[in-house]
Amino acid sequence: MVVLLLRCFATLLHAMLMLALAPLLMGVVTKIRARLLGRRGPVLLQPYRDLWKLIHKIPLIPDTATELYKIWPFVSFAAIGAVALLVPGFALNLASARFSDFITIIGLFAVSRAAIMLAGLETGFGFGAAGAAREALFGLFSEAALLVVVLVFGLISGDPTVDGIATYFSFGQLGISVSLGFALVATLAVALTETGRIPADNPAGHLELAMVHEAMLLEYSGRYLALFQYTACLRLMIWFSLIATVFFPFGMAQAGNILSWPMGLISWLAKLGALAAALALFEVSTAKMRVFRVPEFLGVALLLGLLAVIFLFVAGRLSA
Amino acid sequence: MSVTAIAVLLPFLAAIGLGFAGSPLQGALLNLVVCSLVFVLTVLVFLAPGAGFLHGLLQADPLGMIFGALSGFVALTTAISNIDFVRGEIEHMSARRWRVYHAMCQVMLGASLLGLYADNIGLLWAAVEVATVAATLGVSLPRSASALEAAWKYFILGGVGIALALFGTMVLYLAAQPAVGPGLSAMSFSVLATHATQLDGRLLTLAFVFLLFGYGTKAALVPLHGWLPDAYAEGPAPLTTMLSGLLLNVALIAVLRFAHLMQANFSAGGGAVRPGPFLLSLGLASLLLTAFSLWGRRDARRFFGFSSIEHTGIAAFAFGIGGAAAIFAGLLHMLLHTLIKSALFQALTRAAASRGRASPGNFAFSHLRGMLATSKPLAWMLGACVFALTGLPPSGLFSSEFLIVSQTIQRQPLLSLPLGIGLVVCAIAIIRLIGPLIFNPPPPAAVPVKAGAGICTVGVHLLLVLVLAFAMPLGLVRMLSSIAGALQ
């Protein structure tokens, strides 16, 4: 009974932290990136300020938009928010653990992607459509690669839920490490694409022809734009936590055991920071790709996933 | 003198009358009267399966009865639609030729009945021979170059066929010598069937080859089919109906009877060869050749002539498969195909009449297309007939072809591959016509016309097909099964 209560409380805390810290994470990434480039960069809380500013602007609705124009931001946010609750952060075995099925999560990502693409097509002007088309193209390979990675996880752990996979990996065995390495690389590639970072997309770019994610939001303003941007931050947060949970499951707390929470929180924040630093480093060290190079980039990820499966088989034979 | 004899003799007598007197229309009416009488008689034959006439030369067995009644029915409906045909075409032939035409119709009817009821192979041969001559004269009647050419083909090929059949008949008689000894009895089907096991198998086989080629020419099995498409396409329209409705059956049934003699002798170890392979090869040849000959056609009657070749081929194939069920299926297929095809030709004749004469020929598809726009009931009837030929349900041929294919699968699995290919290609070739023929825009000259009441004969045919195929009365089922059992 107590355990159940604790788990619910942990879930609540987890949700709070995810929703609250998302913009901060974005700020951290920007800051580190700026520093690496030798600039001072904006303050860490800049994303919060931007959101606040946007919220207080009166939104301008394009006259060619339909009634659904205002729905899409909420759909996108709701889907990503749901994922935020499903993906474990600082603790395992949350109340939502049972539903944290990887395929459900992928589906929810797809929902938000669809919402954003439709938002891009909403006003029927060129840039939004171009962005949507590119998003669709990237989506093909990232989803395929991600599913193959999920297959790897499923084959290893025999449990399709993120929570279960993390629990299984937290007592990590050797022998599967090769394939897990491949899977990690593939996952990172997918994550970069899904969160619209370099090399697939440039969140800071302002040339419409080169944009993907931003191009779709070109016609949005005010609170709706704010919601979209917040969703983007949340997505980054989710991906970081996901990677942290699955590949670096050490030091995670058990939701049922309140004493392990602080440790879990600390390790979680540490992992997030490390990942943010890694991302910033990667971004400053690479350039953005041409649009039609990205499928190849993701195709490599897909192949890595397949390789992972094969190595997994080999490993299984070796261990057997 | 038995009903059978009357049924056979009446048409010949009528032919004499028709040949020498009367205006075309009178001739058509008399023709109708005689045909209806004959039909009644052929039905009566069921009640009084005539005891032997001319010491047993003429003896209707169940098979003969069924197909005799069928022939009577087809002749009747043809005679009905013939009246409209004569009305339409009256000025295109001289009164003399009209007389010959009607006389020939009657002679063909009588000869077919004779061939079906005859218990004597010589008499059967004579009947087919008379029918051939009558048909030749009939086909040559339009006197156009192409008609004469068609008749010439018919005569040459038919004559050769007849010669072969006669030779076969004689060899069969010789083969019967050791068992039956000289005399009439050596030529009687019933006697031969009872002594089938003691016949000289070697001569029997030889005889069968010749009989198969002789009567196969009449049944237009590939490669003996050369005469059929032209004869169908050039002769007067109702004559075509008679050809397809009556003569093919006579010849095919003759082949079936002879094949049964072989089979019986073979299974008794009498030294004969199994008839199956002969029939199968000819049947498959017919099916496959027509499957690809059906595509380039521009003339409707020629097209459906090829489809007749296809269906006789299918029936022959079924007989070749052997076994009661397959023979049952083959007979059913013959029944249904006869009904459908004659209905189709009646509808086609009316359609062509509604369009008037045209340069490429009254039956050119380009001339007949777009029926729906000019006459709804006619179009639906025509479409239904054409569709019925494809064997897709609700067409009756579905059930017979279903039976045939299933039997093939169970008895000769490998043969079901060519059979299936042939059936599918033929059906596609036929079904592709319906769009242009019925629904496309009609040729500019076409004018809307009212379909006469006579069209209902087509409906009756199709209804009969449905009943026979999907709700066959038990009595008929028993009769056909017993026939098939006896002939297997």
């Binding site: - | 004579a126 021979e129 040559s140 170059a145 050769v160 010669a163 006669l166 010789l174 005399g183 030889l206």
Partner: protein, 223 residues
């Protein structure tokens, strides 16, 4: 008595052989007139054979057959044919499909097949009728070969007649074959003549010559 029997057989054989020889010679001929003559000769030999068989078997049916054959095939028909040839001056040689030599080789092969089919492999049960049948069959096949190797309607008619001769030969060889068949054979010849007459008549109306190339031209129009 025995000697008579042998004599009977050998004579019947001799006549049949002559018939076969005529049929074979028919194959070698190119000119219509000569072909007609050969058919006539066939008919005469055939009627002789019919009379002989009638004498031996003592059946008047065969005599009747012989008479019919003699009258119609021996005289009426050749006369008619000659008239036609004169009318359309078809004196010139008929063009054949294959060289005559080849067609004769095929003819020999046909005779071989006929013998092979009719006579049992095990010699011994060979009866007169069997051999007679073999010869008749050869004649029939040779007639058909003539029909298929000559490009000319009239010569096809001639080949057809030769085939008929073979049939009649077979028929008269059959012991005690009922009357019906001879009758129908005669009937057939009669009707054949009738129809041929009709045909020749109209074929002239429509094509100046009897050559079937005109018909083939019509046939070439795809229909």
């Amino acid at each position: 008595m025995m000697g008579l029997q042998i004599f009977t057989n050998s004579l019947a054989h001799f006549l049949a052989g002559v018939l076969l020889l005529c049929a074979f010679a028919l194959l070698s001929q190119r000119r219509l007139a000569a072909m007609i003559t050969l058919v006539q000769a066939e008919a005469l030999v055939l009627s002789a054979a019919a009379f002989w068989q009638g004498l031996v078997q003592g059946s008047d049916g065969l005599f009747l057959t012989g008479i019919i054959t003699l009258c119609i095939k021996g005289f009426l028909l050749p006369i008619a044919l000659r008239r036609i040839t004169r009318q359309f001056n078809l004196i010139r040689a008929v063009e054949t499909v294959m060289p005559v030599g080849l067609s004769m080789i095929i003819g020999v092969g046909l005779i071989g097949i006929a013998v092979m089919v009719v006579l049992p492999g095990s010699a011994g049960t060979v009866t007169l009728t069997h051999e007679d049948l073999a010869i008749a069959l050869s004649v029939v096949l040779l007639g058909l070969l003539v029909m298929t190797t000559r490009r000319n309607a009239l010569s096809q008619v001639i080949g057809f007649l030769s085939t008929e001769n073979g049939l009649v030969l077979a028929a008269i060889g059959m012991p005690g074959m009922p009357f019906v068949v001879e009758l129908s054979v005669a009937l057939l010849v009669l009707l054949a003549l009738l129809v041929v007459g009709v045909f020749v008549f109209q074929l002239r109306e429509h094509f100046e010559t009897l050559d079937l190339s005109g018909i083939e031209a019509i046939e070439r129009r795809g229909r």
